[in-house]
Symmetry: none
Subunit: 79 residues, 5 copies
């Protein structure tokens, strides 16, 4: 296999595999929002106070998915 | 393997693998909606108030799946 | 491996792998419907009100599975 | 590898991998029916009313498994 | 396969596979935030006191994902 062929194969396969990060982040994000909804519907009076924590949790988990997307994009367009 | 062959193999396999992001997002989205339904049927009076949070959770989780779909589409049609 | 052989191998394997998105969506859809049934049988009076939410949850989760099916179909018939 | 060999390898392996969609759908379908039975045995009076929801949940989750089966069949007999 | 081709294939594939660390970290981060929200909505008076612990948990789990990202970046740009 020549250099260009190997690089193309690696880049495209690697970009696909990097998307697995999105799967884990999706499970995590779902877990955060699910727990908030669970709690907020049990104790609605306290929900407002925890909205900031909800978004912090969503942001931390979503960030990990976006890091994977960044690696996929770098593989597709930058290297 | 020549360049075109390697690129085709990588693109098509990579697009398939990128769809695994949809699996994780599907689990996450299901978890969010399940928790909302669970809580809303236990305490229907509070359900209206949390509808916005439901859609925020669904949107964050769905977004991660759609990022994976975008990578798959880029692999199939853009690179 | 020549171009046609690599493309065929990638397409067919990729279409199979893209179906894994259906697995995650199936778990998510099942979770949504299970939670609704769980709650509706505990509190049948509130079930009618949440039917819309049930279908929203089912639709969001099912959509992620259908995105995977679309990628599989594109791999088989469009690229 | 020649075209026919690569196509045969890809088709047969892809059809097998596509069946993993059935695994996820099986978990989802089982979850739906289990929740219905759980609830119906706790509150039998409400069970009749939710039979429609049971079948909706089963149909949505089963559909995702059938999509995977369709892809496997297409790989085996149509492409 | 020559040295350069093997190195390129390995680098790009390895960068993609390193992103699997992000998937696990995403599940972990989601679990931490979910547990905090669960508890804080059940006992809001104690939530403030545990905010530091929330961020410690998030930081430790997020760090593991970022280590995977660092390996991916090193593979892409430094070696």
């Amino acid at each position: 296999m020549e250099l260009e062929a190997a690089a193309a194969l690696g880049k495209y396969l690697g970009a696909g595999i990097a998307c697995l990060a999105l799967a884990g982040a999706g499970i995590g994000v779902g877990n955060v929002a699910a727990s908030f909804l669970n709690g907020a519907l049990r104790n609605p009076a306290a929900a407002k106070e925890q909205t900031a924590t909800l978004f912090i949790g969503l942001a931390f988990a979503e960030a990990l998915g976006i890091f994977g997307l960044v690696v996929a994009m770098l593989l597709l367009f930058a290297v």
